[in-house]
Symmetry: C2
Subunit: 504 residues, 2 copies
């Protein structure tokens, strides 16, 4: 304990140390909790675990707001415990997904840059308890976050009560890595002074009102390692196509080999695509992203990336050991910010990001579905993909052209849910090729997408749809009664493939 | 002519004065033209007219890029003349619309804040000729724009050649009304220093390279008056519902009676809704919009609006006379900026706008179609609605609940084209009522929208759809094979109304 208390440098706070069970007991039915945590990194762990335990013997429900998805199976446990009323703004857990789709609890799928703004302006319910993981509390009254910042700054500034979880597993070397900046009220705010990826514009910790700190809990749970799948041949092909596109940009004089600051979405595909740049001619790269995955550190190690900014670091077990065991090697090239700043339209447009995100499916006109399987079942959520796609310099979406052994085509006549409209999607990439949609009218886009991106199994079928659509005319030709035929066929026959094609 | 030349204060340019026919003769097949003009205001007129004449005897095609829609029937004439290859980023003319939908020429429907960025970064073809209307050319080398700025600043800075049309119909009192600011290259730019609606951050005219000026043409064509329909009972009801929503915001302490800077889309409905605020308790209002229509000046006259910023002023004939005849009364309360600045995500988020735009249709989950009739036929284009909706503090969409005497319901199970996703739409308003969707999960949204916004004729039908969808489950329940049943029924039977309901 002696050792633990050293992490609370303001000794007047030592008396607030409590057990996780006691802290969890303060939470009442109907409350709203703001938990730290962003894609399995830096989540509050001990108090939520204790809350799950309480849920086994007691009936209550709370709203769970976070940065993004939680690690340590917390989303699974909270959801199973039946204690969630409303969850936002993102999740990525199979059990929670099922409970959302079975309407066992509510889920609001939000742009990740919006949550802080909506809390501050009073549109979302007031946060009753901010529960945030920390490395330490400084003598001058700041909470030093751990491996993510997420929405913690706003949770702490807006909550009625604060519980800090000091996680002894995290090295104190994390102090100094963060940059905390919160915009003032809308209409009264100044420009956000960040003009370069590496700029520091705020404080190294989260300032807080001592009177609001209700308790401090010690824990020693590690972050969950990421569950990314290693690159495969198809992701390497996608990376190659993406790099071909970027080479064309360089050739046209629109970019140099330094490209522009890169953003890459969470997940195996985006990770693999970034990984694919290791042996490329691109150099002196910068990353301005939401989450740093293994690939960014591989690119740093290879001397390809010279600086990376994000609101979370989510690594495989192996990479965790390497990075956190050698933090001194990376700390001059890293900054962790609030998700409101990493995903802020002002900064994204100013820096002119190249945004690479994963699509679930896209259609022949370039609309993208990132969230809903067959238009109805939630996968994970839009995350930051909309924040980035909408305001970036080049919005790129990647996906394998088929799934489920070819029974699903990722390119369809009409996406069954739209998360990114044709107006916001610049380039689509599959392992088949890429389509650069910028400046093209819908009919030009359709031809390019079918030609370049569709799997050979589905080319004829999409061509036939488009041919029939053309007989109907219009700026964006469709046969509305067949627009979802790929999806209804999947539901009825287990495949999107036409019978004619299946037999052939 | 003596009098005309006084408008060119740098006399070294006097020798460049030519007739419109001569200027039009310089334009070659395959060129790209950047024309001034935004929603019928400030368009280059004489040279495009001459080009249309040339098209009668000669075969050539050009790309026509503008601020937004053109007045003086120019979009109609250019389209009819068959001399357009590609048109962007917006139009609003019936003949051009037909030609777009018949695929007689291409149309790229762009966010209005994107065009300048795409030209500057070399993604769109280089502008061969910028043809911009002006009040005058100053002695220190600036073009003073007229009633709109649109994309003229970027057209002039990026074009290979410049033609200036000095329109003697416009008063020289317009000088000083404009504020021209162009961001530097992405990655090298500073924050845009605008923090208040009334801030001036640039020059009063468009700086230009004298060597690029190929000709100066004099004209005296007036701007086309706007074709807005006067407010009716239903638009007044919509305004009342919108004000009820705003009153709730004031009651909740999220806004004061001064609200937040207002943006209102082009068109009769948005105009009528703003007009409806005249007799309200809201006061000291500010407008940060794209286009100022009659209603903004009515609100100024009523002492309700103290400042208005836009990239264009589009008025009825009567209002034109009043405003331009008494410009001295308004000039301290007005500024005209480039559309890149009026629609910039950085500024929209910073100021925290309340954005009011018109929907063609919206669905039970809050997705909005602003552009495509029955998903295929282009109406006008997305305009700035996406720029505003995506980054505003409150994104509001308004539409009458039915059209075509009730054969069309503006609320449908699934919009036939998505311009604004469920993530970006905060409030929907019809004459039936409003639905505040912020912080709601899809199932909560569907119930509220059906209850509050749908016309009684269609309530049962939408409830039945939703009930059946619920049996399928999911975060966003749908019956995909019936998702477009309203639209296919309209195509087949001339009405979206179910037979059962029609008989009843």
């Amino acid at each position: 304990m002696e050792n633990n208390l050293k992490r609370i440098k303001d000794s007047s706070l030592h008396s607030l140390v409590v057990g996780a069970d006691e802290a969890a007991s303060w939470i009442q039915d109907g409350m709203t909790l703001g938990l730290s945590g962003f894609t399995r990194a830096g989540d509050a762990k001990a108090v939520p675990f204790a809350l799950v335990e309480r849920g086994k013997n007691e009936k209550f429900k709370v709203n769970i707001f976070t940065g993004a998805s939680l690690g340590s199976d917390l989303d699974k446990l909270l959801s199973e415990a039946g204690i969630i009323n409303k969850r936002l703004p993102f999740q990525a857990d199979a059990t929670m997904r099922k409970n959302i789709n079975d309407a066992n609890h509510l889920f609001v799928d939000q742009h990740l840059s919006h949550t802080a703004e909506m809390i501050r302006s009073g549109v979302l319910p007031t946060i009753d308890f901010a529960i945030v993981e920390a490395v330490s509390i400084t003598a001058d009254g700041m909470i030093i976050p751990t491996t993510s910042v997420g929405n913690s700054l706003t949770f702490v500034s807006q909550a009625k009560n604060i519980i800090v979880e000091i996680n002894m597993e995290h090295s104190e070397l994390l102090e100094g890595l963060h940059d905390l900046y919160e915009p003032a009220e809308q209409g009264k705010r100044k420009p956000i002074p960040l003009t370069k990826v590496e700029d520091r514009i705020g404080t190294i910790g989260i300032p807080f009102d001592i009177a609001k700190v209700k308790g401090i809990v010690f824990t020693n749970h590690k972050d969950s390692p990421s569950a990314i799948v290693p690159p495969d041949q198809e992701t390497q092909e996608m990376a190659n196509h993406l790099m071909d596109f970027l080479r064309e940009e360089v050739k046209a004089g629109r970019l140099t080999n330094k490209l522009a600051p890169l953003q890459a979405g969470i997940g195996s595909v985006a990770n693999a695509v970034l990984h694919g740049m290791i042996d490329s001619e691109f150099e002196d790269l910068q990353v301005y992203s939401e989450v740093l995955q293994d690939s960014v550190f591989e690119l740093m190690d290879a001397g390809k990336v010279n600086f990376a900014s994000a609101c979370s670091i989510t690594l495989s077990a192996e990479k965790m050991e390497q990075v956190y065991g050698n933090l001194e090697n990376y700390r001059d090239q890293l900054v962790i910010r609030p998700q409101e700043i990493t995903n802020h339209p002002e900064i994204i447009r100013r820096l002119g990001l190249i945004a690479i995100n994963t699509a679930l499916e896209f259609d022949i006109y370039g609309n993208v579905n990132s969230t809903h399987v067959s238009g109805t079942k939630m996968m994970n959520g839009i995350g930051g993909s909309g924040d980035f796609a909408r305001n970036s310099r080049i919005a790129i979406f990647v996906t394998k052209s088929i799934a489920k052994g070819g029974n699903i085509s990722s390119v369809v006549p009409f996406v069954s849910h739209v998360d990114h409209t044709e107006h916001d999607v610049d380039v689509v990439v599959t392992e088949q090729g890429y389509a650069d949609l910028r400046g093209l009218a819908p009919r030009e886009r359709a031809e390019l997408i079918i030609e370049n991106c569709v799997h050979p199994m589905y080319k004829e079928q999409l061509r036939n749809y488009y041919k029939e659509a053309l007989t109907r005319g219009g700026q964006t030709p469709h046969v509305l009664e067949k627009a979802f035929s790929f999806h209804t066929s999947l539901a009825e026959n287990g495949t999107m493939l036409d019978k004619v094609n299946s037999i052939a």
